[in-house]
């Protein structure tokens, strides 16, 4: 289910108007431990992040959406266990 969550990550990054480099910087700032290359791997689905790593990426994106006046559109891993998978990426 994490892989399904990850599907939308790069789309979310583009919607948030963040370059790969800036998203990595925000992710690193929030405590992420993966390299920029690995992060790109997560975004494109080539690598599968751990749930914790995924949540840091999701949060970095969500904080950007909040800056843009939005809410937290990117789902966290815990949302999936409490909700149906269909709704999770909304």
């Amino acid at each position: 289910m994490l892989s399904r969550l990850s599907d939308g990550l790069d789309r979310a990054r583009r919607e948030a108007g963040l370059s790969h480099g800036e998203l990595w910087m925000r992710y690193f700032e929030l405590g992420g431990m993966s390299t920029a290359l690995e992060l790109e791997g997560f975004l494109y689905g080539a690598l599968r992040p751990s749930a914790n790593d995924y949540n840091v990426v999701a949060h970095a994106l969500n904080e950007r959406f909040v800056e843009l006046g939005g809410n937290h559109p990117v789902a966290y891993s815990e949302d999936v266990s409490n909700a149906t998978e269909e709704g999770a990426t909304q």
Partner: protein
């Protein structure tokens, strides 16, 4: 904290107060700047109201270091309170002090146009300082400045690191372009001279070399005894790649055998990858001041978050990951950035009597 490189001086601008938590960051950045070259160094305190003893010590160490080579550190625009502390501590006698009302070269109109009484926000400070940058050094200098910063950051954050250097292939030979101290320069030089060692191998082969315990090391018979004679017992060399070609290595040295735990190796890899990206994009307009202030800021936030995690772990009796999830959930529910919540929590403990709490490991062991 921002670093502006001018043709005639380097200015470290401190944003906010310097206390026990932020003084180490100032130390890292100031050390990197002082290592970088002979030009005048300025610490701009216009946005700092309070400076603790830890901050004064950092300035003192910087001033003494400059004094050793006949230079003086300049402290620009200290607040009334900070001026008083500089006087009391005796620091005022060993540094140049430029008061806020004294004119100096780089104050643009945008600075004087600030509305009186309006606090300068961190973002405002950053853009202001970025706008003020007018001169960019030659290409190699830009890269070297940024790599010095990577060295300083790796030295400060990778557990067990007693010294760090970056070796690069330039003009057909391997040379050290940034190093944390003389011992480390010597360590690298021994490897170049003997043509063997983890740094040489990582630079040539483009893969990791980890000498966990030099007393059991057999791969580099000429180099290993030299290293041990300088009391170095563990080395971690990560390859630096530009456009996927090996061009050098990030070398981390420790006096302690088996010093580098798994998370330290991960952090080393993160720094090596970032240095590689820098090298790949060296011509693409990344200036060292932009990189340095963004990295310094990111690092400071990471540290603050790790600190808040530690506070929550102790207060709630929970694990690191649960503490992180608490912070994240709070941020989600209130739309307050996680870093601000972390800063509140970290700040709420500062008034308590100092407890000898173990220093937070850099980076959330929680993540990953």
């Amino acid at each position: 904290m921002t670093v502006s490189f001018w043709a005639d001086e380097v200015v470290v601008s401190v944003l906010g107060d310097v206390d026990l938590v932020t003084a180490p960051d100032l130390n890292v950045v100031l050390a990197a700047v002082l290592e970088r070259g002979p030009g005048p160094a300025v610490v701009d305190l216009a946005d700092t109201h309070f400076m603790g003893v830890a901050g004064l010590r950092v300035l003192e160490a910087g001033a003494e270091r400059l004094a050793a080579c006949g230079r003086r550190l300049t402290i620009r625009s200290p607040s009334v309170l900070v001026s008083r502390m500089l006087d009391i501590s005796g620091l005022a006698e060993i540094v140049n002090i430029q008061r806020a009302d004294q004119g100096h070269g780089h104050l643009g109109p945008e600075q004087t146009a600030a509305v009186p009484g309006t606090p300068v926000t961190e973002a405002g400070g950053l853009t202001r300082h970025l706008r003020r940058v007018t001169s960019i050094p030659a290409d190699d200098d830009v890269v070297d400045g940024a790599l010095s910063l990577v060295v300083a950051l790796a030295r400060a954050t990778v557990g067990g690191a007693d010294g760090v250097s970056v070796s690069l292939q330039r003009h057909g030979q391997l040379m050290t372009v940034a190093a944390s101290d003389q011992t480390i320069l010597d360590m690298d030089a021994y490897q170049y001279a003997s043509g063997e060692g983890p740094c040489v191998d990582a630079s040539v082969e483009g893969r990791w070399f980890h000498a966990e315990a030099l007393d059991q090391e057999t791969r580099w018979p000429a180099f290993t005894p030299k290293a041990r004679s300088l009391d170095i017992n563990a080395i971690l060399s990560s390859p630096l790649l530009a456009e996927d070609r090996p061009v050098g290595a990030l070398n981390i040295y420790s006096r302690t055998a088996a010093a580098f735990a798994a998370e330290d190796q991960e952090l080393a890899s993160v720094f090596a990858t970032e240095a590689s990206r820098l090298l790949s994009k060296a011509g693409a307009g990344v200036t060292d001041d932009q990189l340095s202030d963004r990295l310094a800021l990111a690092l400071r936030t990471r540290r603050s978050i790790a600190h808040a995690q530690g506070v929550l772990m102790e207060r709630e009796g929970i694990g690191a990951q649960e503490a992180y999830t608490l912070l994240r959930t709070f941020s989600r529910e209130t739309n307050q950035p996680l870093r601000e919540r972390a800063a509140d929590i970290a700040g709420s403990t500062r008034r308590l009597p100092p407890s000898p709490a173990p220093e937070q490991k850099e980076g959330p062991c929680s993540v990953g």
